[in-house]
């Protein structure tokens, strides 16, 4: 029972990350009809917003370390600590949550610039060309970050007060001690909130309603005199924010490196395809479903019967679902079909 509960929690927090990235991908699919291979790069850019903020906050003075006698070594004391003492070190300690505030406007800007500056020129080009250009963009962004930050992962820490783990048995009122890291619980909650916000925006605001109308029938909406293109640009920006925030919050779980976007991109495409193309609820449902399956496939009991299943389960499920339900779990007839 404990084992199952743990794997469910684990699957949900993995699924949260998959769902967030897939949600943005689907939004862009649905509105602009572009398969955005640079979407993983947006996730990575978000993570590096956190890295950059942390680096800026911890800018330091170098003082010679007298305890090292064999060579010249230096101790670094951040300016913030020198100027503001404990408050300064607390600010540095909270750099990841603080990055969210910066990531929102920054990712919106990056998204809009990316759409207006590059992707818009490819709407009327063939699909293969769209894939090539966004994929190329992803590689360029990746290499720029590699140049700036190096190839190695850069660990980010969680704020001290939530760096430990929660006792799940207390929360659920069951048997033995089962601990689960606070940050992962926060990540799950955070992803649910972001997903909720995106859905509320699309369903409960006039702006969102027009966007949905545009997704269903672009021509009619344009005939009504609405500049749907402008709204779709904003949607692209929102997709960038969602991917970026997913990246920011993921940094304490996995130290970011220049390659993290590509790793998530492949899985996210599978999530989108399994969920049904163009279906936002499908993307979210498939994200959590694949997260859970991945988690359960890594259990020793399962691996004993099917060795190596943990590494192929996601792709295996994608194959099975496409064979039995070619439109994905929640895909509707006529969406993205000629």
């Amino acid at each position: 029972m404990d084992a199952i509960l743990l794997q469910i929690m684990n699957g949900l927090d993995k699924g949260g990350a998959y769902a967030l990235i897939a949600l943005g991908l689907t939004l862009v699919f649905g509105t602009l009809g572009v398969v955005n291979f640079a979407h993983g790069a947006l996730f990575m850019l978000g993570a590096f917003v956190a890295v950059t903020l942390n680096k800026l906050l911890s800018l330091s003075v170098r003082v010679k370390d007298e305890s090292v006698t064999m060579f010249d070594a230096y101790k670094e004391t951040p300016y913030l600590e020198l100027w503001f003492g404990d408050v300064g070190s607390q600010v540095i300690n909270w750099s990841v949550p603080l990055s969210i505030l910066i990531a929102i406007p920054l990712m919106l800007l990056i998204g809009v610039v990316m759409e207006r500056g590059l992707i818009r020129h490819f709407y009327r080009r063939s699909h293969a060309e769209q894939i090539l250009v966004t994929f190329g963009l992803a590689i360029v962004l990746q290499e720029i970050l590699k140049l700036m930050f190096g190839a190695n992962p850069i660990p980010q820490s969680t704020p001290d007060v939530i760096s430990g783990s929660a006792d799940l048995s207390m929360i659920f009122g069951i048997g033995e001690t089962i601990s689960y890291p606070w940050w992962r619980l926060i990540y799950l909650l955070f992803s649910l909130i972001v997903i909720g916000l995106v859905f509320s925006f699309l369903h409960f605001t006039t702006y969102g309603m027009v966007v949905r109308a545009g997704m269903a029938d672009r021509e009619t909406v344009e005939l009504l005199g609405i500049n749907i293109e402008k709204r779709f640009t904003i949607v692209f920006g929102i997709a960038a924010i969602v991917a970026g925030l997913a990246g920011v919050m993921y940094t304490p779980i996995l130290p970011p490196d220049y390659h993290m976007g590509m790793e998530f991109l492949v899985i996210s495409f599978v999530v989108v395809v399994v969920g049904g193309m163009g279906s936002l609820p499908g993307a979210v449902a498939a994200g959590f479903l694949l997260g859970l399956l991945h988690s359960f496939a890594s259990m020793t009991a399962v691996k004993d019967i099917f060795p190596g299943i943990d590494q192929i389960i996601i792709y295996l499920v994608a194959v099975v679902i496409l064979l039995t339900r070619p439109r994905g779990l929640l895909g509707r007839r006529g969406v993205m079909e000629s």
Partner: protein, 455 residues
């Protein structure tokens, strides 16, 4: 009009096809073959400098991928070794190595030059990089490491091509066990030695009634380390509850860590290295395993192969964790001190164990050439085989002729609770004598092969 509209229509099939094609291209993107061969004049052996005034060495290290931190430090050490061999700087271990024929005038009077390559911690990339060094850059020796899978792949390529491979950081038993090669030499210790050195200390620390859970990197090094640590801990009475293989570069290990809590294990053994180890250890600590109590005992985490670079990456998480190391900069012998001093002056921080083994390997190769009086690999191999030396950090050391494995003292280390400086991360718990970690040369089978390729 309708035509252009059709062409921009997104169909599910075209998206799927495009996604599959691009992913495929991403996964299987290979390296173009190289056909450029410099110095195409008749050579007696590959890397023969002929009348050139210099000799070229090939430093093939991971500059990207999960072991790139170690790779960067290896490269620093190689560059320092080249300086010292060419008579620049303070000479480092050239002054402490015993016996030594090195004079600081290059190797056999030829200036040492080098080329570098990126193994990307992948066997195929490492092999093509090594092949390029041999065919295009005419290197006399290839060296580098940080992954046993890569080391074994490059070692066998070097055997085929008749160029000596001085392994850098590689810890799998197979490198000088079942996959040993005449042209491959390893100064670094191996998983078996780690197990033999570590077990008695684990017994002192945690008693002999313990249940161990292994997470193991799924490639040659992980497998042999798991086997060696398992054997050694079972000999002191521990029970092995579970062994789980994890993919290299998995990043998030949480799905493998959660089942540990549900097992009745009270020790977690992480057979991971590099970034994998930093991630799995940090995540294990996030999951509360340091504070955990299981079977009425404090839960323990063990990292059988440790390095300072890793401990630095893992930060707080590494404190109090036991493991082994080939070498550590705080050793007080003359050779270690000389090396730490020159490395520290050059780069401003102490060298890692990977840097140490690579530096030593380069000097040992150079010295063997001097002893042989030629660069002809079969003669250099004979000088290295059975060579006994001292003054390079771990006490008297033997390059065993039968399997090309070095035998020397092994360090058991622990993550320091109260570090005095940012480099003071590990403390040496014990320098385990060489006699305690020795084993017969035929323990894992394998054949060295001929002195001359094709013989």
């Amino acid at each position: 009009m309708s035509k252009s509209k059709d062409s921009m229509k997104v169909t599910r099939r075209s998206v799927l096809a495009g996604t599959a094609a691009t992913t495929g291209a991403l996964m299987f993107g290979g390296v173009a073959p190289l056909h450029f061969i410099r110095n195409a004049h008749a050579q007696e052996f590959p890397g023969d400098p002929g009348n050139n005034s210099s000799i070229v060495l090939g430093f093939n290290v991971p500059q990207t991928g999960p072991y790139s931190d170690e790779g960067a430090d290896e490269l620093r050490a190689y560059e320092l070794a080249v300086k010292h061999l060419n008579g620049e700087g303070d000479g480092g271990m050239l002054n402490t190595m015993q016996p030594s024929e090195l004079q600081g005038n290059g190797i056999l009077g030829k200036k040492v030059e080098y080329v570098t390559g990126d193994t990307q911690t992948k066997s195929d990339a490492a092999r093509s990089s090594a092949r390029r060094m041999i065919e295009r850059d005419n290197v006399a020796m290839v060296t580098g490491g940080s992954s046993s899978g890569v080391a074994i792949a490059v070692q066998s390529l070097c055997q085929e091509m008749g160029v000596i491979f001085m392994a850098g950081l590689t810890h799998s038993n197979d490198t000088t066990g079942k996959d040993k090669r005449r042209y491959g030499f390893r100064h670094f210790f191996n998983a078996y030695m780690s197990g033999q050195a570590l077990a008695p200390i684990l017994e002192d620390e945690y008693g002999n009634d313990r249940k161990a859970y292994h997470l193991t990197a799924d490639y040659t090094w992980g497998w042999t380390q798991e086997e060696s640590i398992r054997d050694a801990t079972e000999n002191i009475g521990w029970e092995t509850v579970e062994t789980v293989k994890t993919p290299v570069g998995a990043g998030d290990f949480s799905q493998y860590l959660t089942p540990v809590q549900d097992s009745d294990a009270d020790v977690l053994i992480l057979n991971h290295y590099g970034n994998d180890m930093v991630n799995s250890l940090t995540q294990a600590v996030q999951f509360g395993m340091k504070e955990r109590v299981a079977n009425g005992k404090d839960f323990a985490i063990v990292v059988p192969l440790y390095s300072r670079l890793m401990a630095q990456g893992a930060g707080e998480a590494a404190k109090g964790i036991l493991g082994t190391s080939n070498w550590h900069w705080s050793l007080q012998d003359e050779g270690s001190q000389a090396f730490v001093k020159s490395f520290g002056q050059e780069y401003g921080f102490p060298p890692s164990q990977a840097a140490h083994t690579c530096y030593v390997q380069t000097l040992l190769y150079a010295n063997a050439c001097e002893m042989a009086g030629t660069f002809a690999p079969w003669e250099v191999i004979r000088s290295l085989e059975g060579f006994e030396f001292d003054g390079m950090g771990n006490g008297p050391t033997l390059y065993r002729a039968e399997d090309h494995q070095c035998f020397k003292d092994v360090l058991v280390v622990r993550g320091k609770a109260n570090p005095e400086s940012e480099f003071d991360i590990l403390e040496v718990v014990q320098q385990v004598p060489r006699s305690q970690v020795e084993y017969p040369a035929d323990k894992w089978g394998g054949e060295l092969g001929p002195y001359k390729p094709g013989e």
